[in-house]
């Protein structure tokens, strides 16, 4: 069945409010964390010949990093809860596409979107409504990276903390062999998340342009557009 031409589309509510809220909380806290993190790792030489009195910009940068880390962590916990409460596109099962259907969809995505092939028998029903199988795998990978950041980050933070929550992660740093190793992991994983973001943003634009179903705006309004034929009851 062809995928282009004039068709009737139905508006479907894919991303519920909590999913969208999580997405943007996550995106902006990650941005804040990456920017402040890079500054903390290699502070710019913007001042010289000054006295420390009344200056605290580096302390503030670190404060922003830690505050954003808490928001980021809470956002992730929130999303994990929503994986059990939300609709079928938010459900935790989505992130384990290792079923026959899921693997079939994976093949479709690799052929169509990664290798850019144009198989003759392509069917619009094969285009995922929520996350496609490959994206779902990438997001589970991202969740693992985010978890590593939370564990190493709070682990490094634990010794300065007075609250019990960060102290729960105190065992992480010795397990990795000290602060230097933990910092290195924290830093490398930051770059992996940056690389993820580049690919993620590109593919959202790609799907928006090549499928014409409102991929980009779906993360603002929550709606996507699917062909009328895909809705069982009209």
């Amino acid at each position: 069945m062809e995928t282009t031409g004039i068709h009737t589309f139905k508006r479907i509510y894919v991303w519920e409010g909590p999913v969208r809220a999580f997405h943007w909380i996550n995106a902006f806290s990650l941005l804040a964390l990456a920017v402040t993190g890079v500054i903390i790792a290699n502070p710019p030489a913007i001042m010289s010949g000054a006295e420390a009195t009344n200056r605290y910009w580096f302390g503030i940068t670190r404060f922003v990093h830690f505050a954003a880390a808490y928001i980021f962590t809470l956002g992730m916990v929130y999303r994990l809860c929503w994986a059990f409460l939300g609709n079928k596109y938010a459900n935790w099962r989505v992130f384990f596409p290792y079923t026959k259907k899921g693997l079939h969809n994976l093949g479709h995505v690799i052929k169509h979107d990664i290798l850019l092939m144009n198989p003759k028998n392509s069917d619009f029903r094969e285009i995922a409504v929520g996350h496609n199988a490959l994206a779902a795998m990438a997001y589970s990978g991202l969740f693992i990276l985010m978890a590593i950041q939370i564990f190493t980050g709070f682990g490094l933070y634990a010794d300065n903390a007075t609250w019990w929550l960060p102290k729960l992660f105190a065992w992480v740093v010795p397990m990795l062999g000290g602060d230097a190793a933990a910092r290195l992991v924290h830093h490398i994983v930051m770059w992996l998340i940056v690389i993820f973001s580049v690919i993620h943003i590109y593919l959202v634009l790609y799907h928006d342009w090549l499928e014409g179903r409102g991929e980009v705006s779906s993360m603002f309004g929550g709606y996507k557009f699917i062909r009328k034929e895909r809705v069982k009851k009209d």
Binding site: D159, G178, A180, Y206, W209, L210
Partner: protein, 376 residues
Amino acid sequence: MIETTEKRQTYYESIIANGFSRRDFMKFTAFMAAYLGLESSAIGQIDKALKTTPRLPIIWEHFQECTCCSESFIRTDHPIVADILLDKVSLDYTMTLMAASGHQAEAAKKATMENFKGEYILAVEGSVPMGADGNLCCIAGRSAIDQLRESAAGAKAIIAWGSCASNGCVQSARPNPTEATPIHKIIKDKPIIRVPGCPPIGEVMAGVIVHVIAFGKLPELDSQGRPKAFYAKRVHDSCYRRPYYDAGLFVESFDDENAKKGYCLYKVGCRGPMTYNACGTIKWNNGVSYPIQSGHGCIGCSEDNFWDNGPFYERLTNVPGFGIEETADKVGAIATGVVGAGVVAHAVAANIQKRKELKKRVEAGKDVEKNVERNI
């Protein structure tokens, strides 16, 4: 060398017998209580313990090490520590400081192990080579691992002096040719106090020993087996240059104006923010200074693998497997650039490959546009 069969003196008795006054003794107890971070009422407890408990025999083993721990120890602030506590009173065996040598020394050790089985403290300086059946380090014709197992068997507790015994230090740096191994990875069935540092601060070493003899138990240890009183904080957190760090004022190179002004050494590789030690408060050489105060960054000598976490004059550790001068930032930036270029190439290829599909869709969209009445 003291005879292990003599009547066991208390610490106080032996201190007085060695010509110190009671006043010296009281100063010493107050001094120790302060270093251990105890309140003033504990001075009385230490005083009482040193007057009533018989001296604790100590066997001090030397394996793969440079003796800097012993050197540091005998330079502690207070003369009683060096003169009395170990050199004359407590040390039953330490091959670098004892008068006896050869068979006599080994006999003294054996006597202590037999007479004070389950009571003596084993102090270990140096790591143990596990490679080549342990033959890479032999003392008195026997391998270090053999010696360690024997002397650890009857010990009440083990003190792992310095980074060698507690972390492996330079001998265990990659590629670790002798398979140098810290004590806690060999002896699993004894309480072990790790006192890392290359060397540890003399006062810290004295503090640990005084705590053991004064209270009859090990000091409070953290999850790494290090005494909390000395290793709970990072050097960074007690550094007198910390205000410059929070103000974002950094030394850029060792010869710049900022270095002269005493700014934070973070950007020239100071390991203070990742090193747990008491250098910032107790300092070195009788409290005179410590590396950061002398204008050099901390090299993190009390941390695990500190030789492999180099280079010492750069902030970030080298990424293993990416060449010696590559840092995570460089690798990350290059990888991001490569991915970015790949994404652009993919976008171009997609538009070419899918041009028919795209064209059809655009045309379909245009058709709809034509059939919609313009009302605004």
